[in-house]
Symmetry: C2
Subunit: 877 residues, 2 copies
């Protein structure tokens, strides 16, 4: 029961204002006005009368006892009460109710359709609004992605120099007009001036190196500082990758402003700055957040989506597909990513629309052509040689590496994030970002592989050595001798050896920096750094294999497959497989990852190596803990997210999980016709539950329905304001007809319209695995527990999450045993979790209750073994 | 209530033997021995003790009142009763129960894992069996698809002639060794002899034409006769495309033998024969059936899958992905097809395994290389020119054509199939096949476009005219003048004009024949004929556009986009878009269709035309009736399939759908502790329901649990055989402890282990849309309806389907208003539906009850409007 109270405190009292004002981080208040501003968009809709009507429709179709014809529905009803059926911030939505609301709305529009041409137009608009909103989302996502790509490219090159002929050109564009055509010298054209050339007037020598070094660090720090300040002041929700929060939102949680227009603006700008600052982060994850912001904002143009939380989430699913589509140029991969990774409720209609949004976004991006290669991504590659069966061994080894890296990264990053939350260090986010940016810049500059943009590094590593390739990685000895027969395996030249060393250093650098970077208060994606680490490792393995095949071509392995001098090994393919493996290890994506990387190459042949590596990486990673980085961050922040991938493998029954527990006060219930307004208000004020079961009478505790706290409060206020004769001792009834009352009693108040007459119930003997399944599949908020028709208790989503956490602590997984979340309390954080934590009523994470230490689950299990639990004894007839 | 009885009759009494023996079609009995044989595979598993244990585990975890530790579970239990928890043929499975069984099995294996090395090995085998079974399925599907491709090719060419140098070569292979290299003469090599050459000794002239004509018809009829006889005698389930039945099976229905080894063998052989016979059918749909047979057969190697119907369906989902993968060479499309079109329960784990199976199958097929082009499909194409925006107009027109064709085809084909079922014509399936084959062959031979294999026709239509193309379709005038500049639009030559006429005739022919062919008693797919129709129409439109662009290049449309002499229009692309549109119109597939066709070309550019056409085609088709051909056939055959795509848009409540209805006898219930064995047997014998709610007592009708008829019967029999002291007047109790009995009473029988203590309940006020949602998402078999904790009635899946059918008849859709299914009764049919119809107890389709004509839904609605319905009055306190 205590947990229920906490639940309420964490959710309800943390309405927007209390969050912002109660925040102990005073700096947050600087931007409060602005934050307020972007919150109001959503809040307006919450409180006006229009928004409320769908909610009351639900009550109609539910509680009205109406016959089947929809046209007669309205006759039976009182006025809809404004506000009934809406949600507070940080609350979980009721999917079933939302879907009912939408069907009711649809029926209404359909029945009116034939009345007039105007109504018909409205119904057409309604029918097409789904396509319109995904089209708009696709267009906007594609355009923003193109903008971000171009801006990030330009600002990234700004760290090295400027284009004198046209300041808005980046290095490559600047040199397009140059006459220098040798590929080695391609990047050195007279129009492009490095900072040393500009300031010192010399391009070579130690002085200019130091000058360039200094300017590189200067720009990196400036960008990083600007990014973190913008995030901090204007839109704290804009930091991080956003995918954990989007997953939570899509699973049916409300975080107002997380997908608002301020978040969109600030995230777009700071994403460019963060990428340009050279930090070890990518723009792919944040692009999904940006696309979801677009989807959310456009959904406000269409009442079908703006007023229904479930429908809005369909748009967001499509938007996240569009986001991945533009991030990787992979429309199909984007749809599967949305399906596999982020979406919770994904009907087929959404699949089709997601696909459409992803395509639209991809085509807009292609028309913008930010990379000048008519491709959607910088690192599009084509390989021309097949792979051989024995190569599966190194591919699988890369998979093992990816899995190990993923497991290590998740552990280390979560440990660091927890430390950041629990220590004073977390209080200085700006300092932290500057520090990390400074270290990154200082260490990155001397190594050419870390100095360049990570996407460009990946491109170079993916690309196979062709005759036109000037990269150090391609300095094979035969090339040095002047022969250009690039289709063969060749002995490596000194360039390759030095590149190998630099790559090894870059690998170590990337591994360390990524751990400290992900979770900073700037927009930071994880895809690109993970892929870079995998690509470096893969390229190293690939070159090693190539040299092995060259020098030991008489080994039985190579002899059979690989003719002397023939091109057996494609080091670029190894880099790609490694990238996929590392990304798979970190995110635990499977199909969508393979499809995304497949779409980068376009060859069906390379799917098998990819699959082998990704499968291995997932299995290896899962052996150390089944959570991907996003699930880990969701758990770290205590979001109420019921993962549909995780299997519930325990044998507990519903009665062991339900509230009230043994020592709790009895379940707070309402009787259907013998409470007065005053008594009802008393119950509501004394308790803090979100809802109350309504029963027949105190004697026969049979269930009638379920009433939400919010709805009761609104309905009573509304009645006292509008209905005459409602006084404190008016009788409240939930039945169809008013109870027989003494002649002098005041006018009774009928609350049937807010009563949910079809609450979900399970019996106390239902195995929890079934209950969890019901919650996941139907998207419930709560479920009542009955025994032989009598109400015993209630199970909420949060009770289930608590229970899962308890079970996890009883039987810790093989390696990771995450500490309980009690310790995290202080500091301004990137995530929304800590915002709750700062609310005065709960210094602990609001979703996890204090454990009743005097009654561990073991004791309860023992009690249960000796018959019915005390809770049951209290309640049974 | 009557419907419930019919339900039972249709399901239960139709156990295998009664179906086979009661069949009024005596010819079926010829093969009964054989059919018996392929049924026993599955039946064995039903009755032995092993199969039963998972079922009782469910009862354990459910009814045992056991504490949370799984190791203590077994202490509480009686011996598991063999047979409890299995299903009869033609029954719906309970997904929730099956999933619980699987989790219990998994827990058991996991808890034993550390006991010994052997147990550890077993647990590893168990963990890997999922991957093993999909790998095997993929291998087998790929191999069978290759075999079918090669055999069908060879037999198809046999209609025209033989290869004298090697009889087992088809025409193309025969001529590979030929020295003739001109492309026009490619097909005429000395080794290949047409029948006229062989028999008459002359290759030209009217005599040889007639001889070839005769031999063509002769072979076509022979193949068709052989195919239909094999199907009829050995495996009646092998006919048709199989996709409607697979959809039904995947939704949780049991049709034993439908995916058995005899079906597999006969379907593989007859598929080759049917394709070779020249009938207007394809092998793509049946390949899905073949792959599912492989999946089902391999799943018997693994107890995890053979003993759990829900897990087996995961394998079948993967298998259907593999089937489409080899049918179209589209692994990703296959997975999405499985997800979008056939699967019901598709968790992410299945997605990943389906993808794997699809890939394995594709690679096996590629290694077999049946088409000699290293491609997975005959009609792989590559286009080299882009498309222009104005071309969207003809593409959308093709979409409209596809939608119209789809709607027309579905209406016509269903009408014809219904006629076949209801008239005497359906009694002579062999004759029908021969007749259709004869007409097809006679009409097809004179036209070169219908004479050739449909796949080859599609290939020719898809392929763009290149300099090497010798087809009549490419006889442009410039080629005739000797210029070979094929990259330009050109004026059409006389060859093109005559080809256009022939194509128009072929279009009409295909349209008519396909309607009569789909539903014949041979394996018959719909994909290829639909695609052929679309490809013909598309190619005609494409050539028309090309000529338009050539002769009117100064039109404002063409002027802007299309330079004079440049190659603007790719007629092959039009053919492809048309094929997608027609297939979309017939099947109403969306994403999967676009992806499948995308995988044929590999160019992302062409997705937009495809999407435009497929979307238009779906919308146009949906305007005439929302069902695709598979859903229409499911409804025609009365399968219990709850379509998850169809929205439930009505406002009925659960109490209007539940049984018993107003005039029915009261709900048959069992009391928890005051029945004797004799009374219980009496209730079971008097009624025919599949299950009974168990209540506290006759006075307080509160719900305790639910017991299945089959389980009760088995448990009583088992008890009387094994437990001493169980006599007819022994008391039966479902409670934890025995009731207090007089001293001289016989030993009571405890049946708690078969009691489902967590039956699903909804309140009587629950809107049916929520109930339908619960049934779909959780895969329920039945759901109890309560009012204030008291049992009122029961809703089964079939009640919902009946209700949907009733509602559909009240408000018929725009164009299609399918007649009620009462009239269909006679004849041996391709589908399993009629097998039930032939059972003596139900001459009507078993799933649809006789409507209570004295109490139409309108009357009921009126009654309801005036308060509670009579049913409720009878039952309330």
């Amino acid at each position: 029961m205590e947990s229920e109270q906490l639940y309420h405190r964490g959710y309800c009292r943390n309405s927007y204002n209390s969050i912002a004002s109660a925040s102990s981080d005073e700096e947050l208040l600087d931007g409060a006005g602005v934050i307020m501003d972007f919150h109001t968009t959503e809040d307006d809709n919450l409180l006006d009368g229009d928004a409320a009507s769908p909610g009351s429709n639900y009550a109609m179709s539910n509680g009205g006892g109406a016959p089947s014809s929809s046209t007669h529905l309205l006759d039976f009803l009182e006025e809809p009460i404004p506000g009934v059926g809406t949600y507070d911030d940080f609350h979980t939505i009721d999917w079933v109710r939302e879907k009912c609301k939408d069907r009711e709305r649809h029926r209404k529009i359909n029945s009116k359709k034939k009345e007039s041409a105007w109504e018909f137009t409205k119904s057409l608009y309604d029918a097409w609004s789904g396509w319109l909103v995904v089209t708009l989302t696709g267009l906007a996502s594609g355009a923003l992605a193109g903008l971000i790509d171009i801006a990030a490219d330009w600002m990234n090159d700004l760290k090295e120099g400027v284009c004198l002929s046209a300041l808005w050109f980046n290095h490559e564009q600047c040199c397009w007009t140059s006459n220098e055509t040798t590929f080695a010298e391609r990047d050195k054209c007279p129009q492009w001036k490095s900072w040393a050339e500009l300031i010192l007037g010399q391009a070579e020598g130690p002085g200019s190196y130091i000058m360039n070094y200094f300017m590189y660090i200067y720009w990196a720090l400036s960008f990083a500082f600007l990014a973190v300040c913008l995030v901090k002041v204007f839109a704290p929700y804009a930091c991080g990758s956003g995918i954990p929060e989007i997953k939570t939102i899509l699973s049916g949680f409300i975080i107002r402003g997380y997908l608002g227009k301020w978040t969109l603006m600030i995230k777009t700008i700071t994403l460019v700055l963060a990428v340009a600052s050279g930090l070890s982060l990518g723009k792919e994850g944040p692009l999904v957040h940006v696309a979801c912001c677009c989807g959310n904002i456009f959904s406000y143009l269409f009442p079908k989506y703006s007023k229904n939380e479930a429908k809005k989430r369909e748009v967001l699913s499509a938007a996240s597909a569009a986001g991945v589509s533009v991030a990787f140029g992979a429309p199909i991969g984007g749809v599967l990513f949305s399906l596999e990774e982020v979406s919770y409720y994904f009907p087929l209609k959404t699949l089709w629309r997601s696909f459409f949004a992803a395509l639209v976004a991809a085509f807009v991006l292609r028309s913008i052509n930010p990379f000048g290669n008519s491709r959607l991504v910088l690192f599009y590659v084509e390989y021309h040689t097949p792979w051989y069966l024995f190569e599966l061994i190194p591919f699988i080894l890369l998979g093992v590496f990816g899995g190990l890296w993923g497991a290590f990264f998740i552990k280390a990053n979560i440990a660091w994030c927890r430390r950041r939350k629990s220590t004073r260090f977390g209080r200085y986010p700006v300092l932290e970002v500057i520090l990390v940016a400074a270290i990154t810049a200082v260490v990155a500059f001397p190594n050419p592989y870390t100095r360049k943009n990570t996407s460009e590094l990946i491109k170079e590593l993916f690309t196979d050595c062709g005759p036109l390739e000037s990269s150090q990685l391609c300095q094979y000895r035969s090339q040095m001798n002047g022969t250009k027969a690039f289709s063969d395996d060749q002995p490596a030249g000194p360039g390759v050896y030095s590149a190998m060393w630099q790559l090894c250093l870059a690998l170590i650098f990337k591994i360390i920096m990524t751990i400290f970077t992900f979770g900073l208060k700037v927009p930071s994606g994880l895809f690109i750094p993970s892929m870079a680490i995998g690509a470096i490792a893969g390229r190293i393995v690939g070159i090693a294999m190539e040299q092995l095949a060259y020098y030991h071509h008489d080994w039985f392995l190579f002899k059979e497959w690989c003719e002397v001098g023939a091109d057996c090994i494609t080091p670029g393919l190894y880099a790609m497989v490694g990238a996929a493996a590392c990304l798979g290890g970190v995110t635990r994506m499977t199909v969508s990852l393979v499809i995304i990387v497949f779409e980068l190459t376009g060859g069906l042949e390379y799917i098998v190596p990819l699959m082998a590596a990704v499968m291995t990486s997932k299995w290896v990673g899962d052996a150390f803990g089944r959570e991907g980085i996003y699930e880990a961050h969701i758990r770290l922040n205590g979001y109420p997210f019921l993962d549909s991938k995780e299997e519930f493998t325990h044998t507990t029954l519903a009665r062991e999980v339900m509230r009230p527990r043994r020592n709790d006060p009895p379940l707070a219930v309402l009787t259907q016709d013998d409470l007065t307004v005053e008594e009802l208000q008393g119950i509501i004020n004394e308790t803090s539950y979100n809802g109350f079961p309504v029963i027949v009478s105190k004697e026969s505790q049979r269930l009638v329905g379920f009433a939400l706290r919010r709805d009761i409060t609104i309905a009573i206020e509304n009645a006292r304001r509008k209905q005459e004769g409602i006084v404190l001792n008016s009788r409240v009834y939930f039945t169809q007809h008013a109870p027989t009352l003494p002649a002098d009693s005041p006018r009774p108040l009928k609350l049937r319209s807010i009563l949910d007459m079809s609450p979900f119930t399970v019996t106390d003997h239902t195995p929890m695995e079934i209950v969890v399944d019901i919650f996941r599949k139907l998207g419930l908020r709560q479920c009542l527990v009955t025994h032989n028709g009598i109400v015993l208790g209630i199970i909420t989503k949060k009770n289930i999450l608590e229970h899962l956490e308890e079970l996890k602590q009883q039987s810790p997984p093989l390696v990771t045993s995450p500490a309980p979340l009690h310790t995290e309390a202080l500091g301004w954080s990137c995530n929304v979790g800590p915002l709750w934590e700062l609310s005065p009523t709960s210094v602990q994470s609001p979703f996890w209750t204090q454990r009743e230490s005097h009654e561990g689950p073991d004791i309860k299990a023992q009690l249960l073994r000796h018959g019915l639990s005390p809770v049951l004894d209290l309640n049974l007839h």
